[in-house]
Subunit: 234 residues, 2 copies
């Protein structure tokens, strides 16, 4: 028998890789990008260098597809020593457009879970990334009507959540966050004394990865799939 | 004697080219971009083609610097018939980073006006563009403390404002919007029966331009500089 989480009034739900597929498309684009640059470097090295450049550019580009594509273009110039073909640059731009134009693919059980939760709780979508891209995905998902409020953040650190809860006049103890990223959806909330349930996705971006050691003092639950979340709620 | 605007409780203020310089930096980048492509086309043609491409990409890239840079890279490939140098592509990426890293340059009277208005009204910053870039500019402007709420929209059409007013529980008649763009800051608000004061900036992006004919049935005031806004308020 699953121990219930008591006192929850509002539930925050992450979007990318919690409600719909996202990271998979980035990985496919990274593979295609590495393929384009095989004349210049090994796939492993290309992946590592791209990640380093994305982290370097993060303070000005932020999260999302557009910054990812700009970093890929920059990386192609650098790794090829300014020898990459214009055709390859064009393909990199197209990789970005392909991600932005992907149909929204809902994960298992999403509609059932949201429909059930929406009956008893106020649901808030809490995501990060490019503003228009996230709004567009939500609209195309046909899930928008389940959410009382939609919040697209530039980052998902403790300070961002703290400000969000304050702005929406929500006490931490009455807030539960559900998401796939320990770093972005779980640990910051537990740090605020809110509740959190981790629903892992099979693929996690390196930037979102945290060690077991980082999590050991945090109190949260992990489930294998979104539907299991219902067991925690009355 | 200026006729006062009565019944206002909340004032929305646009950011780019209303509080701080923005369009000027885009124009400088466009000039530098055209310079890079002079071997392939006339400056005039380059400007026109770039605008067309930006409009074509707007539904997926949205507003802001990152989409602008991605469109410039794409345009360089197309206009050069895939002959543009990698060095030129690198310079285009740098044009974008330069905009993102520009110091925030406040327009005349901004601090006086916000300080005065904040005493009697709730101020809301209402802007569009890249989420992180706008947040970063607001932080660097040292103006954040004047605003009760900050709203970064993916677009500024009537529906976006209508949804914003509803979400914040604001009646149109008690809302005044101040901004430099007739298309984005003024006409949509007048259409909602809210108040609006137009403070033109010397440079307006083609996409934001509207004809006199488009405005003729709209009731709003135009002032020469932001400080004149104070004359309309009690």
């Amino acid at each position: 028998m699953q121990k219930k989480i008591d006192g929850v009034r509002i539930i925050g739900v992450d979007a990318d890789d919690t409600l719909w597929v996202n990271e998979t498309y980035y990985r496919e684009a990274e593979d295609a990008f590495a393929e384009l640059l095989t004349p210049y470097e090994t796939q492993n090295q290309i992946g590592q260098e791209l990640f380093k450049l994305e982290m370097k550019n993060l303070p000005i580009y932020g999260y999302g597809v557009k910054g990812f594509v700009l970093s890929m273009v920059e990386m192609a110039l650098v790794l090829s020593n300014n020898n990459v073909s214009n055709a390859s640059i064009a393909k990199i731009l197209q990789l970005g457009k392909d991600i932005l134009n992907k149909p929204v693919e809902l994960l298992d059980g999403v509609e059932t879970v949201l429909e059930t939760l929406a009956k008893n709780y106020k649901l808030i979508l809490v995501t990060k990334g490019d503003l228009l891209d996230q709004e567009s995905k939500l609209e195309r998902s046909n899930l928008a009507h389940y959410f009382h409020h939609v919040e697209i953040l530039s980052d998902k650190k403790t300070a961002n959540y703290s400000s969000l809860l304050q702005r929406l006049d929500i006490q931490a103890q009455e807030f539960l966050m559900i998401g796939n990223s320990l770093k972005s959806d779980i640990l910051p909330l537990v740090a605020l004394n809110a509740h959190a349930i981790h629903v892992p996705f099979h693929t996690t971006w390196l930037h979102e990865q945290v060690s077991d050691e980082d999590c050991k003092d945090y109190d949260y639950s992990t489930v294998n799939s979104l539907v299991e979340v219902l067991k925690f709620l009355g």
